[in-house]
């Protein structure tokens, strides 16, 4: 589904990603772990198409197409979803209003009829329940005045509404209390499917106890230095990045 080859990315003239190779198949869940500032969010933004992130070398192929050529909205239409580490508040634009516009834009792209207000609200209720997002929050302005945890629930609610093929989830677990983490993890497990791939960026083993990844990558200083199975995450948690780094850098 996704193939990243030798990806180099600069931000403001500074090289952040220094040759990433990563391949994800449909149905797989990959986790990326790595210290602060190693380039995890940068990778997520590049996949979603944020401006100002210059690809100086390498390629990203998604469903056989050059992803980097596409606008952010075209990527969304093709099924790419980014769950933000820091979701932005948008006062004046209500959650359901913008999501309905978004969903119907995607449906149009996928050759489906737009949902009418009643079907949309039904779907919205169902998906909000999945992450226990209070109905009231779906109607408020996007993330406006939401707590940290509510913002994260809102991200997964949106993901559930938009049904992406590839979900890149940037620290969706940060800022969640223990119960909320479980709710979100359950929600994500429900969304796991053979047609859908997930790239989960996290600092903590805890989320991965619930959503067991097929592959774990360690990103340090813009490079993937280790790739392994779920046990790699456990080892990181126990030993820290230094050990892993030293192990590969003689």
């Amino acid at each position: 589904m996704l193939k990243i080859e030798d990806l180099h990315v600069e931000v403001d003239g500074k090289l952040i990603l220094k040759g990433i190779d990563l391949e994800i198949q449909a149905g797989e869940v990959h986790a990326i772990m790595g210290p602060n500032g190693s380039g995890k969010s940068t990778l997520a933004y590049v996949l979603a198409g944020r401006e100002g992130y210059e690809v100086t070398k390498g390629s990203v192929t998604y469903k056989g197409r050059d992803l980097l050529e596409m606008s952010p909205e075209a990527r969304a239409a093709e099924g790419v979803f980014l769950g933000f580490q820091y979701p932005v508040a948008i006062p004046g634009v209500s959650n359901v209003y913008f999501l309905k516009a978004a969903l119907n834009a995607l449906r149009k792209h996928r050759g489906k009829d737009p949902l009418d207000a009643i079907d949309f609200m039904k779907l919205s209720k169902e998906k909000a329940a999945l992450v226990q997002l209070p109905d009231e929050l779906t109607k408020r302005s996007v993330n406006d005045g939401f707590s940290g945890g509510e913002k994260k629930r809102n991200e997964i609610y949106q993901m559930a509404m938009l049904e992406p093929s590839l979900a890149v989830l940037d620290e969706t677990d940060s800022g969640l209390d223990i119960d909320a983490l479980k709710v979100i993890a359950d929600g994500l497990n429900t969304l796991r499917s053979p047609e859908r791939a997930m790239l989960i960026i996290t600092h903590y083993q805890r989320l991965l106890d619930y959503i067991v990844p097929d592959v774990v990558h360690v990103l340090i200083d813009g490079q993937i230095v280790r790739t392994g199975d779920k046990d790699l995450a456990k080892r990181l948690e126990a030993e820290g990045y230094a050990e892993v780094r030293d192990a590969i850098q003689p």
Partner: protein, 403 residues
């Protein structure tokens, strides 16, 4: 009736021979002050950012004919009469009430020259649900014309009413120089919606004089205009009075709009809130100047003022100057002004959800002033305004029809 064309100053007569004595003398002193002082020029501080020449130099013909129309029907407790008629039949009732002049420019011109207008009187102790609707229009003419709409609104003690004024007109050389005076008795409430969708030249003045515990809520929506200068003043004269002055303006093309607000806290325990939002694109210019004066003795005043602007093109201009003058202790005041562009991270967020860029821009642009449009309390007017505003903002077409 045809009039010769004259500049505004030249159109002032040398003597005032009709109407009650008190009005003649008010008009005379307004005219004398104007002749002495002249109309504003480039150096006049309050007109610093607004080109006044087209108003001062053009020769206009009088064109009041259909300037002012009441479109709503009669209702219990409300009397709407022609000012001319009241001045003929019971002039004493208006004495002291139509006196804007002396220190004014265009309002003084209106005081000196208005020939008719409306007096809307709401009797004490009634609540009028259905809004009173006034329209000011210009029938299409071929030469520059000027009209002087004049409205006096009196809401007696304990009453509640709603007024919707719409200024329309397609002719770019027509000048409307309007004055609306509002008197709110003790505990009276007025919701006042004023829509400027006149493409021509507009100078307007609203003054609300508020007695104790009265409430005045104004929402002004300005949809472009070749040249608009609008002044609104709320004078909080009685203890416990409150006002909310809100406004939204949209400029594009070569529009130029200039809004001045003034709130005077003259009594203790009054509250004022102001929110003005603007969107500037194309080669448009928007000016906002807001003053809050807290007089000595107006203790326990609470006054807030905010002006935010969205600048959508390098060729558009925004000038904003909010200020407070506080002459007493024990007040809570805040003010702020911003000029910015669309937030890239908000735009990106919407696009990652599949919203096309154009639509995302339109959504964020409309969201910027929606808060003000939403304060229009009359739903049919609010719905119509939403459509009209969307038709004016860049890519606004994209969200018409979206839920």
């Amino acid at each position: 009736m045809t009039h010769e064309r004259q500049t505004l100053l030249d159109s002032l007569p040398s003597s005032f021979d009709t109407g009650p004595q008190w009005l003649r003398s008010v008009r005379k002193s307004a005219a004398e002050a104007l002749r002495e002082r002249g109309l504003p020029n480039k150096k006049t501080e309050e007109w610093r950012f607004t080109p006044v020449r087209p108003l001062v130099d053009t020769e206009f013909a009088r064109a009041d004919a259909e300037a002012l129309k009441l479109v709503s029907s009669a209702r219990e407790g409300v009397t709407v009469r022609s000012l001319r008629q009241v001045l003929e039949q019971e002039p004493a009732r208006l004495e002291g009430r139509l006196a804007l002049g002396e220190s004014e420019h265009f309002a003084a011109l209106n005081t000196a020259l208005f020939t008719d207008g409306l007096w809307i009187h709401v009797a004490a102790g009634v609540t009028i649900e259905e809004p009173l609707q006034l329209t000011h229009g210009f029938s299409k003419t071929t030469e520059p014309g000027v009209s002087y709409p004049r409205v006096l609104v009196t809401v007696e003690a304990g009453s509640e009413a709603r007024l919707i004024e719409t200024y329309a007109g397609e002719a770019s050389e027509q000048l409307t120089n309007s004055v609306v005076e509002i008197e709110l008795g003790p505990n009276a409430k007025l919701d006042h919606i004023r829509i400027h969708e006149n493409l021509g030249l507009q100078v307007g003045r609203v003054e609300a004089r508020q007695e104790a515990d009265s409430s005045y809520r104004s929402v002004v929506v300005t949809l472009g205009g070749a040249l608009l200068r609008f002044d609104i003043r709320a004078l909080l004269q009685g203890q416990g009075a409150e006002c909310r002055l809100d406004g939204a303006y949209v400029v594009d093309g070569s529009d130029h709009v200039d809004h001045h607000t003034l709130v005077e806290h003259q009594a203790p325990h009054c509250r004022s809130d102001q929110t003005y939002r603007g969107i500037a694109s194309g080669h448009g210019t928007a000016v906002f100047d807001g003053v809050v004066l807290v007089h000595r003795g107006a203790s326990k005043t609470e006054a807030h003022q905010e002006n935010r602007n969205l600048l959508l093109s390098d060729t558009a201009t925004v000038h904003t100057k909010p200020h407070l003058e506080i002459d007493t202790d024990d007040v809570i005041c805040s003010h702020g002004a911003t000029v910015g562009s669309l937030d890239e991270s908000q735009l990106f967020y919407l696009r990652t959800r599949g919203i096309p860029e154009e639509l995302a821009r339109a959504m964020l642009t409309y969201a910027f002033i929606e808060e003000v449009v939403d304060r229009v309390s009359h739903k049919p007017t609010r719905d119509r305004l939403r459509e009209t505003v969307l038709a004016r903002i860049p890519a606004g077409e994209a969200i018409r029809g979206v839920p």
